[in-house]
């Protein structure tokens, strides 16, 4: 059977957009679900220092800090990819450079994650008692 090609390449729906679409969805979903919990944990500040400090102590656990690194990555990816979407949608002629801009935005995200992972990683290892 001959290999069938879609309008955008050989993969199913396959352009870089298929993967960034999925990643945008997953990161957005993760962030809003975290926000639901985060509004509640921050609201505990209204119940005084004893209650709030006990709640916020959860964030000082190294496993939670690992998830926190994931949260920062999710927000950053969603922000950078969202900027790319706005660029394409408000200036459609830029879609001619879709591949290059997708590569550039992914590169920018990975580049930003390098120092962030370094800084937060140190804090994670500290909390885990390794450093």
């Amino acid at each position: 059977m001959a290999k069938r090609k879609s309008d955008f390449g050989t993969l199913y729906k396959g352009s870089p957009g298929q993967w960034s679409w999925l990643a945008h969805r997953i990161t957005g979903l993760a962030v809003i679900l975290f926000l639901f919990a985060h509004v509640v944990d921050t609201a505990v500040v209204g119940w005084g220092p004893e209650a709030y400090n006990r709640v916020v102590d959860v964030y000082h656990n190294w496993v939670v800090k690992l998830m926190e690194l994931g949260l920062v990555a999710a927000v950053l990816y969603h922000a950078i990819n969202g900027t790319k979407i706005m660029l394409f949608d408000f200036w459609p002629s830029t879609t001619r450079y879709m591949k290059g801009l997708s590569l550039a935005s992914t590169g920018l995200f990975l580049l930003a994650m390098l120092p962030i992972t370094w800084i937060m990683g140190e804090s994670i290892l500290n909390s885990a008692g390794i450093l």
């Binding site: 949608d89 459609p92 962030i116």
Partner: protein, 149 residues
Amino acid sequence: MAVQAREHAPAAPEGRAPSAYAGSRDRPAGGFELWSWLFMRISGLVLLVLAVGHVLIMHVLDEGVDRVDFGFVAARWGSPFWRTWDWALLVLALIHGINGLRVIVQDYVRWPGARLAVNMAFYVIGFVLFVLGTVVVFTFDPNAWPAVT
């Protein structure tokens, strides 16, 4: 609906405005979905500053979350600037996120009754969190616990 033969530039789906360039994306043709489309982009632009700034300040720079405790929040919310920042972030992130959930639900929950139920659940959660967050941001008074601050 019959399967459409695809040309090089696919025709815009029903209710979507055709785009000018072959590779560009369609947007809603009008009504609520167009406002939603526009809101996601405008609020996204503002959240670029509010949310990314918040995440960098609270989670990455200057000891990150290690330094966050009651005293930290009390000092931070001593400034109306940060109270306003946090409240704007709360409102925009909730609406942006819950509208995003609505779009996802549209794709995966096909039965209208279930779709309405799931969406209503998110709207109720969103409204309750909006009220809770707003009350706390604007009524928080650390002087109620003078021993700590």
